[in-house]
């Protein structure tokens, strides 16, 4: 499995972003814009996800005149399941932090 519990926040961001449009094909610049990642960070992540079978890729069929064909990405079933888990974990983490800050305790233990 390419994804580990301690995977980078950037990888989590890409997974969550791809999960936002399940089944839809997305292109690299769109993902970069929405996640705020630079191309040098985003593409290695896409490569790892693709190598791990979490992402499927294809080339755009009919690009408009004057623009090169885009390479498109979408989550596989396995990738979508994993991204859902990641999103759930992130949401649970956010809820915990909000609860702790309301109680007036530090959000990070030991802080």
């Amino acid at each position: 499995m390419v994804f580990k519990r301690n995977s980078s926040p950037q990888t989590r961001a890409v997974l969550e972003d791809l999960l936002a449009s399940p089944g839809g094909w997305r292109h690299g610049y769109d993902i970069a814009r929405r996640t705020g990642l630079a191309s040098g960070t985003l593409y290695p992540i896409l490569g790892r996800l693709s190598d791990g079978g979490l992402l499927e890729t294809r080339w755009e069929d009919d690009p408009p005149e004057g623009r090169p064909r885009r390479h498109l990405y979408r989550l596989t079933a396995e990738g979508a399941a994993l991204a859902a888990t990641v999103a759930e974990q992130a949401a649970a983490g956010r809820r915990t932090r909000v609860r702790e800050s309301r109680r007036g305790r530090p959000a990070v233990e030991g802080a």
């Binding site: 292109h27 690299g28 610049y29 970069a32 630079a38 191309s39 040098g40 960070t41 985003l42 593409y43 290695p44 896409l46 490569g47 693709s50 890729t57 080339w59 623009r67 090169p68 064909r69 885009r70 390479h71």
Partner: protein, 173 residues
């Protein structure tokens, strides 16, 4: 400027294995959709970093590792003056050959050839240049140095052991 970078990227991408090219070509194609100016410059700069790292990994890493391993074995032989120096050199030679055979199984033969012959070749060069040192076989001269080609056998054993381990592990998965 951006055209030069795009040309450089396209040329560098061609150095990559076919199976790795799609992602890089996709990144390059996306540059046309990024607004010109700083944003496109940043996109291409990130792309250059990404492609350069891959070229390094896929094209240069093995050769650098091979040179490093050969240098390590030569250095072990060069500095070894104790009674058990030969055993240390043999252990080092076996270890690096096995490591290279594991890392790049399809080039196990080349790893064995380079690691196994490096000591003989360096000894011959030293003799030819008249440089003395622990790595020059005494007595024997050129013929003694030639005998060091026998190290091809343990180097091949190490490299093919590494390759075999890697392949059997892959099959087991």
């Amino acid at each position: 400027m951006s055209r030069v970078v795009q040309w450089w990227l396209a040329a560098a991408i061609r150095l990559l294995p076919q199976r790795r090219r799609d992602l890089d070509e996709g990144m390059l194609a996306e540059a046309a959709s990024v607004p010109p100016g700083r944003a496109r410059g940043a996109w291409l700069a990130g792309g250059m970093w990404f492609v350069a790292r891959q070229v390094l990994v896929y094209r240069c890493a093995y050769w650098l590792a091979l040179c490093g391993a050969a240098a390590l074995v030569t250095a072990l032989k060069w500095v070894g003056t104790s009674d058990d120096a030969a055993q240390v050199v043999m252990a080092g030679l076996l270890a690096v050959a096995a490591e290279l055979g594991w890392a790049v199984p399809r080039r196990a033969w080349l790893s064995a050839l380079v690691i196994g012959s490096v000591l003989a070749v360096t000894a011959m060069i030293q003799i030819a240049l008249g440089v003395d040192g622990a790595s020059v076989p005494k007595p024997g001269g050129m013929a003694g140095a030639g005998n060091l080609f026998a190290l091809l056998i343990p180097a091949a054993a190490g490299a093919y052991l590494g390759r075999g381990l890697r392949r059997s592990l892959r099959r087991a998965r």
